[in-house]
């Protein structure tokens, strides 16, 4: 048995993570810039730069903070009428970078190179499916125009409340 995996697979994962951060912050910045918020476009760029700098620390917090910042930037961008599609791409890429960081950290504990490669392949496949589906459905949702009536809003609110209670119950069960 060897130590943590540091082979070609891990390097590829690293590069993919960096690329995701670049794409995420690039898309967010482009969205801002194209909407005429040139100065504000520095914000996602700064988030990306900081994320890239601090990700070497191998801390879970860096990815978490990066994702929160990118989501916040995307939400603000949407509210400022920056290109919603760019924001969506930025968010999906941020989600990917966040996931790859956590996965890379977990994979360090897998000492068998073949096993690590197989795990990596499976993970990337599922991530790709989730990303593509999310992006596709998101873009589709951006195209849809529907007028929400009060009843629909109430229904959505109820779904949210039920969902939230489910999540809380699930988390409580996990804690036990």
């Amino acid at each position: 048995m060897q130590g943590p995996v540091r082979g070609g697979g891990a390097q590829a994962l690293d590069m993919l993570g960096v690329a995701s951060i670049v794409v995420s912050c690039g898309a967010l910045a482009a969205g801002y810039a194209l909407a005429g918020w040139s100065i504000a476009s520095g914000l996602p760029a700064a988030i990306g730069a900081l994320w890239l700098v601090f990700r070497k620390r191998n801390s879970t917090r860096v990815g978490d903070i990066g994702l929160i910042a990118a989501t916040g930037a995307a939400a603000v961008g949407v509210m400022l009428d920056a290109g919603a599609a760019w924001m969506l791409v930025g968010l999906v890429a941020a989600l990917t970078a966040w996931d790859l960081e956590a996965f890379g950290r977990w994979l360090q504990d897998c000492p068998i190179a073949d096993e690590a490669r197989a795990l990596q392949r499976t993970h990337l496949q599922r991530l790709l499916v989730a990303d593509l589906l999310g992006l596709g459905l998101g873009l589709l949702a951006l195209q849809l125009r529907m007028r929400l009536r009060l009843s629909v809003l109430v229904l959505l609110g109820a779904v949210l409340a039920i969902g939230l209670s489910r999540v809380v119950r699930y988390l409580r069960r996990q804690a036990e």
């Binding site: 919603a84 924001m87 996931d99 000492p111 996990q174």
Partner: protein, 428 residues
């Protein structure tokens, strides 16, 4: 768990913000993250049905010897896409090769095996178990469990190899051994002469003495050599333990005690051990290798501690040791211990004190400065005072700076028996 919560919160915030601002594009932003969450929950692991078995390369070893720990985990449940197993390594063990953590995927019925190497310090160790966390492939929906994987490891102190050393207790036991018995009889060292008695070998007749007294024949007597009772006393009081950079002076005392036990038992003596600190740990006297193993096990479990009862040597029950036997105390000693030792000596115990030097041990870890030097001199003066008190009472003393080889120090101090000691030994 944290990641799941984080993502859930982000999704909820986006949705609530979208509803509050009546902005459908914000709702669209929540879709990828919500989908990611759905994927995680859809593939969440089922209740864990894992079984772990543990084997170690040995169940007892000497301190500092590497030990390989092997673990095998079998999955009796459904597929676990991502599973992290972490063996809870007991405190005092240092992992020197591989890792007690292992990450993999585990199919139904499959078994996962991994090993890691530890370098344990002296002690008795109980492995508790293995922490398992399983999740979906995206690592969001976690399920944790703690699996029993009992294991026990006894790490004995490693004794120094000592050259033979002479002891002279007042009373010895009946069996032949290496200790001069202060009784005439058959032996090798000349003891005295007495009147010839029928049955004495002719070559024992002292012709020179007999020639001076033609009416009587005299026979040489030789000093009998017997085995002795040796009581080892280990001072485990916390106040005498000095810790520098995670290393403890007590560990040196332990090794010295183990070495002395080995030495005395190799000579065939009957050896017992009394460790006192937080409580009394008494190993009944015995002979041979089995007794050595018993003593090493007692030393393995010895920990420095405090107790009001045993804070002073006054309350140490010496009735454990036969009268007039040899006592060996391994302790850095303080001034208030001196009267008790003098009393033991007065009761006829032959005392040998091994005194690991806590001052030089602690000062080695300090920056040299004038206050440190001053403190060193004061403490050394106090130690010298104790030394003088012990020597005046005829107690053998070995001052040991623990960075020097114990064997060398022991023989340097006891190799040549000083005049005062010879005098006190022959008085009885």
């Amino acid at each position: 768990m944290k990641r799941l919560v984080l993502l859930g919160v982000l999704v909820y915030l986006l949705v609530i913000l979208g509803l509050a601002a009546l902005n459908s594009r914000l709702l669209a932003l929540a879709i990828p993250a919500a989908l990611y969450l759905l994927f995680a929950l859809a593939y969440a692991p089922e209740p864990l049905q894992l079984r772990v078995t543990r084997t170690t390369s040995t169940d007892h070893t000497l301190a500092g010897t590497p030990v390989t720990v092997s673990l095998a985990v079998t999955n009796h449940g459904s597929t676990l896409e991502r599973v992290t197993l972490e063996d809870r390594v007991p405190q005092g063990m240092q992992v020197i090769e591989d890792s007690p953590r292992f990450a993999a995927a585990l199919g139904p019925g499959s078994t996962l095996e991994w090993t890691y190497v530890i370098k344990p310090g002296r002690g008795l160790y109980d492995f508790e178990g293995v922490e398992v966390s399983a999740s979906d492939n995206l690592g969001l929906a976690l399920r944790r469990a703690s699996l029993e994987a009992p294991g026990h490891l006894t790490v004995l102190p490693e004794p120094f190899r000592l050259r033979r050393m002479g002891i002279r207790p007042l009373r010895t036991r009946g069996h032949a051994g290496p200790v001069p018995a202060r009784q005439g009889g058959s032996g090798t060292d000349f003891y005295g002469i007495r009147e010839y008695q029928p049955g004495d070998p002719r070559r024992w007749i002292n012709w020179r003495a007999s020639a001076r007294h033609p009416a009587v024949l005299y026979t040489n007597e030789f000093q009998q050599e017997r085995i002795a009772d040796v009581g080892l006393m280990l001072d485990a009081r916390s106040r005498h333990d000095v810790r520098v950079d995670g290393r403890s002076l007590f560990e040196h005392s332990i090794r010295a005690t183990a070495s002395l036990a080995d030495l005395f038992l190799r000579d065939g003596n009957r050896v017992g051990l009394l460790a006192f600190g937080q409580y009394l740990d008494w190993t009944f006297p015995g002979y041979g290798k089995v007794q050595f193993e018993r003593i090493l096990r007692a030393l393995a479990r010895a920990r420095p501690g405090d107790s009001q009862v045993f804070d002073s040597l006054e309350n140490i029950p010496t009735r454990f040791f036969p009268a007039q036997s040899q006592l060996v105390l391994v302790s850095p000693l303080s001034q208030d211990d001196l009267p008790v030792l003098l009393r033991l000596r007065a009761r006829g115990y032959q005392l040998l004190v091994i005194r690991p030097d806590p001052i030089s041990y602690e000062i080695a870890g300090l920056e040299p400065s004038r206050p440190v030097e001053l403190a060193r001199r004061i403490l050394h003066a106090r130690r010298a005072l104790v030394r003088r008190g012990l020597q005046q009472a005829g107690i053998q003393l070995v001052d040991w700076q623990v960075d020097r080889p114990f064997d060398q120090v022991l023989h340097g101090s006891l190799g040549r028996v000083p005049q005062w000691f010879r005098a006190t030994s022959l008085q009885v």
